[in-house]
């Protein structure tokens, strides 16, 4: 049994150096469509039409992307003769629509933040990516981020899923049980816009229709580093300057 200790040591440090250094390992992020200028109006129109969730909007020859609605179906990448631009990276955290500013937690929390994760009808992908943050390759403990078992000691409520009707009550109870310095982060396209599920008698079309949301991490699912970026923003360790309010209209 003692051999585990030896094997563990021998593996060495596997964790990413992010945020101190950039992380470019292949496959850490699937990327996402970016705003694109097309040669003709028709091509821009085609790109907007192929998007099943209306995440792509055409303005003349150019298109813009509302990432909160993008469900990563890749049609605009692989099924168009002139595809959309694709951007690498994972620093995707943004402010919720119609919100001009959000404040991170006070400085005292910067290196010790306790997170309560709530599954509000998630398909399993976002939740799985949150779970990956605890694996040695990401190891969020090194940054002072901890999962907590009780809302009483939680600083951040991390919500995945579109908020299904049967989880709405438990989600609200969790939120109410948290200290009022709490922040709320919606992770994934379903949590930001309802995703493919949309609004129905069973789905609330995103967390912001139930709770005040401070930050959003769009993506379907956002890769672990995108979620880590969100945590760093909430902790005030990534600057808010890069965060600009989004202008596209949302339902």
């Amino acid at each position: 049994m003692s051999f585990w200790f030896w094997h563990g040591l021998r593996k060495g440090i596997q964790s990413t150096r992010y945020p101190a250094r950039a992380e470019n390992a292949p496959g850490v992020s699937p990327g996402r469509p970016a705003n694109t200028d097309f040669p003709t109006v028709e091509e821009a129109q085609l790109a907007a039409e192929i998007c099943p969730t209306d995440a792509i909007v055409a303005h003349g020859k150019s298109t813009s992307v509302n990432h909160g609605k993008c469900v990563h179906c890749q049609l605009c990448l692989h099924s168009l003769s002139s595809p959309m631009n694709w951007e690498a990276g994972f620093e995707w955290t943004r402010l919720p629509a119609n919100q001009t500013e959000s404040h991170p937690l006070p400085a005292a929390f910067a290196k010790s933040m306790h997170i309560m994760v709530v599954d509000a009808g998630d398909c399993g992908a976002c939740l799985h990516e949150v779970k990956q943050l605890n694996n040695p390759l990401y190891n969020m403990h090194r940054l002072g981020f901890f999962l907590t078992a009780t809302p009483r000691t939680a600083d951040l409520l991390l919500v995945v899923g579109p908020v299904s009707e049967n989880t709405r009550g438990p989600l609200l109870k969790t939120w109410e049980a948290m200290p009022t310095s709490r922040k709320v982060m919606a992770v994934g396209s379903c949590a930001t816009s309802g995703g493919v599920f949309g609004r129905s008698f069973m789905c609330a079309c995103g967390v912001s229709s139930v709770l005040p949301v401070d930050f959003e991490v769009p993506g379907n699912p956002p890769p672990p580093l995108a979620i880590l970026h969100g945590l760093l923003v909430v902790a005030g360790r990534k600057s808010l300057k890069s965060l600009e309010p989004i202008s596209e209209g949302r339902p």
Binding site: H7, G8, G27, K131, N134, N166, F197, F201
Partner: protein, 541 residues
């Protein structure tokens, strides 16, 4: 080591011709009319509903069929019911009947086929059809403390887009408690998972202290009414739902959905697409099993092994992202084939990743086998005997750990699985360790399959033109990482979905969870849960 063989399930397997003969003799030609269909090798139209339980017993117990599920469809003037049974090696048998729309009850088959329990409860809850003599109907998908009785959301008259209900009823809902020993009490666990990251689901542990006598899951917190909101969408839009209701087995579910859509339109994916689908499905299985193994290691608090399994899983997620631009293989399947082709260099890099994962898993398995304190926590924990597994029709790795050999890739081949050589490993002990061994053995087989497919890829297109030009219904199936997945699809002449039904392995297997979670020590609960490796969201849809 896992056993390697793939015998056909127990029971007296008779050929199709013999089967029809016995059916006529036993039930009479007036009661059961037989015809071969496009979907099913045999459709049995029932004229007398009273024959349903006896016919179900005959197929399930005497013919050794596996139970697929129940599909209810509401047409304008009638109910159309399908009971799907699988005769391994032969094909799907559909027991179908229609009844007037005014019908409010039909005979339950639960007393004959226990596996039908939750199917009937779901139909009762969502369609409002009563099943006579079912032991417990009521609170199931729609939780009674927030939903009025008498709401039947799957009925056509119910609009999915209607506003959510305000002013919920606050019934004094109480869970059913069975244990009556002095000093016994019920401990609620969930729905918000305490201590880490977990899906929304609730358990009620009935206990007298340290020993838990009974643990019953309460599911459907993540019910997003996928089957309901798919209605009225185009096939392409419904595919987005089929792919995204349970992301950890997204490819298998989208594959089953596409196979159903293709069967309706009468098209078939070209050979290269079919082979690549096998490759991607096995990549998903390999990644899923690595994750399931990581979860089992974590549940026993053997931290280094959990970390190493998690690294294997993360590396496979990254390889998937490099190979297919998505860590969970979204956006690949499309009715008619795949959305894109993959080059030989891409395949070669994937092979390297799969080989690495396979050898890392072998090393991990070898070390775990030498860790006595780890094995102590898995052996004889959460035992499901072969008889109980058969009784409850457990599928996938959980069923195979209890000697249920049924694997759709073998029992009813699809997407060209019949062309490839692979084994279906199984175990007989039915405990947590048997389930872990099955996961390891299946992961090895998946890596082998990936090699075979990549080595035998034919050139050619990966997509045929798909157009819905006729109304129809079809069944698509796939062996998802957690077991058999069935997708039933009905479209009208314009390609709009009229009925979509997804029968998932987690739905099947959660029914059997209480068997493994009977009379156990409280500290074993996370281990039983992890070795079952079920997904609540895949069950809830």
């Amino acid at each position: 080591m896992a056993n390697h063989s793939s015998p056909i399930e127990g029971g007296n397997i008779t050929g199709l011709a013999d089967l029809t003969g016995i059916l006529v003799e036993r039930f009479g030609a007036q009661v059961v009319q037989m015809r071969a269909g496009r979907n099913f090798i045999l459709s049995l139209s029932l004229a007398q509903l009273s024959a349903l339980p006896a016919l179900s017993r005959f197929l399930f117990w005497e013919q050794g069929c596996a139970f697929g599920g129940i599909i209810a469809e509401e047409n304008s003037s009638s109910w159309q019911m399908h009971y799907a049974f699988l005769q391994p090696g032969t094909g799907w048998i559909d027991v179908e009947f229609s009844m007037p729309i005014e019908t409010t009850s039909l005979p339950s088959i639960v007393a004959e086929v226990h596996a039908a329990d939750w199917h009937e409860r779901e139909i009762e809850d969502l369609f409002g059809i009563h099943f006579e003599n079912h032991p417990r109907l009521g609170d199931f998908v729609l939780h009674d403390q927030i939903w009025h009785e008498g709401i039947d959301p799957m009925r056509k008259s119910f609009s999915a887009s209607q506003a959510q209900f305000e002013g919920k009823v606050d019934l004094e809902w109480q869970p059913l408690l069975v244990v009556g020993d002095p000093g016994s009490f019920a401990m609620p666990v969930g729905p918000i998972y305490e201590g880490g990251v977990g899906e929304s689901l609730h358990f009620l542990l009935e206990t007298v202290g340290e020993d838990v006598i009974r643990a019953v899951p309460r599911l459907f917190y993540n019910y997003r009414a996928v089957e309901k909101i798919a209605e009225g969408r185009t096939v392409a839009d419904a595919l987005l739902l089929a792919e995204r209701f349970a992301a950890t087995s997204a490819f298998a579910h989208s594959l089953a959905f596409c196979l159903a859509a293709e069967r309706i339109a009468g098209v078939e994916a070209p050979p290269r697409a079919a082979a690549l689908r096998v490759l991607l499905a096995e990549l998903e299985r390999l990644r899923h099993h690595a994750g399931a193994i990581a979860a089992i290691c974590e549940s026993t608090a053997l931290a280094v092994s959990a970390a190493q399994a998690a690294i294997i899983e993360e590396n496979l997620l990254r390889s998937s992202s490099v190979f297919a631009d998505h860590r969970y293989l979204f956006g690949l399947n499309t009715p008619g084939g795949l959305t894109r082709d993959f080059g030989s260099e891409q395949c070669r890099r994937l092979l390297v990743a799969a080989d690495k994962a396979e050898s890392d898993l072998l090393i991990l398995e070898g070390r775990l086998r030498l860790s006595s304190s780890f094995l102590d926590r898995l052996e004889d924990v959460g035992v499901v005997t072969g008889d109980r597994a058969r009784d409850l029709n457990l599928v996938g790795p959980i069923g195979r750990a209890s000697a249920q050999h049924c694997d759709l890739r073998r029992a009813c081949s699809y997407s060209g699985y019949g062309r490839f050589e692979f084994e279906v490993p199984y175990e007989t002990e039915g405990d947590g360790y048997a389930r872990l061994r099955v996961l390891f053995a299946e992961a090895t087989q998946s890596a082998k399959l990936i090699h075979q497919v990549a080595g035998s890829l034919e050139d050619g297109p990966v997509r045929v033109n798909y157009e819905v030009n006729r109304p129809g219904a079809a069944l698509g199936w796939a062996e998802a990482p957690r077991g058999a997945a069935l997708h039933w699809l009905r479209v009208d002449e314009e390609g709009v979905v009229e009925r979509y039904r997804a029968i998932t392995p987690s739905f099947n297997n959660w029914l059997g969870f209480h068997v493994a979670a009977e009379n156990f020590a409280f500290q074993d609960f996370p281990i039983i849960l992890a070795t079952f490796g079920l997904s609540a969201t895949e069950c809830d849809r």
